[in-house]
């Protein structure tokens, strides 16, 4: 029905015929269009008028003719194109029918005005894009310095510390001192080597039989762990010295004190 109305419009009929021809010419390279808006803009050029005066109705007709033709030729059209076709068909009916007061939503004129705005805006963007690319360009029309000097980055490092850092640092050192026995391992253990060293120094003065316990170093004979360790080490050291022939040792009875004395080598009694 709307179609009949449309055909009756003189101006539109004329456009319609020429548009069909144009559409056929355009149809060859659908792929060249960047979507329906691009195609609509191209179609609008055939109206040869300022985009502000463009007949959206005629444009819709052209577009629908284009889609019709594409279908006839069995060309694959992207979904976008079909969506636009449906929307333009709707717009066309709105433009042709008298406004229905019961229907809400924008009027056909408003929708048409917006489409005209979109087309004009896209055309304007293309226009300024071309202007932009036509400007003098760096590296093509004007040039930057060819010999550049690197700016040397001189990094100046300043060091800082807070009072807390300082105190913690000091605390760390003091803590380490307190802790040293643990780090050094066993403060309560005397090795045989330590005992031997000690005995060798002392043995020269031991002419008489002396209790072995008197050879324990100061401070090592009270504490249980220390006295056990030093007794064992000293005993082992005396055995070593006996083996070397440096001392004699004796024990009067089981569990009796062990006594040692310097061996009177050669000149003494056997």
């Amino acid at each position: 029905m709307s179609d009949t109305d449309f055909e009756n419009d003189d101006e539109s009929t004329v456009l319609s015929v020429s548009d069909r021809v144009a559409a056929e010419a355009l149809i060859v390279d659908v792929g060249a269009y960047e979507g329906p808006l691009d195609l609509l803009l191209t179609l609008s050029r055939t109206q040869k008028v300022d985009l502000r005066q463009i007949s959206i109705l005629a444009l819709a007709e052209q577009y629908l003719a284009f889609v019709e033709k594409a279908k006839e030729l069995r060309l694959e059209l992207a979904a976008d194109y079909l969506v636009m076709a449906a929307w333009l068909a709707f717009l066309k009916s709105r433009l042709l029918l008298p406004p229905d007061p019961t229907e809400d939503g924008p009027s056909g004129e408003e929708l048409a005005a917006h489409l005209a705005f979109q087309l004009e805006r896209l055309a304007a963007m293309r226009d300024v894009a071309a202007k932009l690319m036509g400007r003098d360009q760096l590296g093509r029309d004007f040039f930057a310095r060819g010999i550049t000097e690197d700016v040397q980055r001189v990094r100046k490092v300043t060091y800082t510390a807070t009072l807390l850092d300082l105190m913690q640092g000091y605390a760390r050192i003091r803590t380490k001192d307190d802790f040293r026995p643990f780090v050094m391992d066993r403060e309560a253990v005397m090795t045989m080597e330590q005992a031997l060293d000690r005995m060798r120094g002392l043995i020269g003065f031991a002419g008489e039989w002396t209790d072995i316990s008197s050879y324990l170093p100061d401070g090592w004979n009270m504490d249980g762990v220390r006295s056990r360790s030093s007794t064992a080490a000293t005993f082992a050291a005396t055995l070593e010295l006996v083996k070397e022939g440096k001392i004699d040792m004796r024990q009067g009875d089981t569990y009796a004190p062990i006594q040692i004395r310097k061996r009177a080598d050669r000149d003494g009694d056997t």
Binding site: D38, A129, K131, D136, F142, T148
Partner: protein, 216 residues
Amino acid sequence: MATPENDSLFEAPPMAEQERMVEAILFATADPVSIKELTGRMPHGSDPAEALVYVRKKYEGRGVQLVKIEDAYAFRTAPDLGFLMQKETVEVRKLSRAAIETLAIVAYHQPVTRAEIEEIRGVSVSRGTIDQLIEMEWIRFGRRRMTPGRPTTFVVTQGFLDHFALENARDLPGLKELRAAGLLDNRPPPGTLDPDAEDDDAEDDDQVEMFEDTPE
């Protein structure tokens, strides 16, 4: 001559000397140098902004000119002598039509979201196009829009302005005319802004806010 360490002990160098310094610093680099950086590199108390006025005057009409890009300065050869420089011409990667249009839309509508670019072009913007422009350092991410989804926006860079010999984005060709014609307005499709037509008030508010965000 004053060395950097003890500058602060002395007066700022005479203006003629400051001119020499500005000249040297700008000659040494290909990229624009900001006033701030000039100040940082010149002796204490220098006034590079003033020195630049004299330098610019000195180079007027010469083969090399002082150009301003936003708040930065650089020397560039005079555009009318480009023909001498065929040897230096760098082959700029040929941009697709989509890339050129996208670039123009970002420049004229910035800050602009991807959705707005798509709305203007009527087609979706491929990732590659945006990536290419970012890689060329002609566009970059701007602030996020304070609208649902907080979409990122795109803006053009100083490199873009430098490339197209623009002092700032306000100097874009035809910008005033476009604005006067209302073509830079973010005009929503009819119906979407009518509060009575929308049942979701909250969504509506955001919509309004977004369009108030129209770029300068």
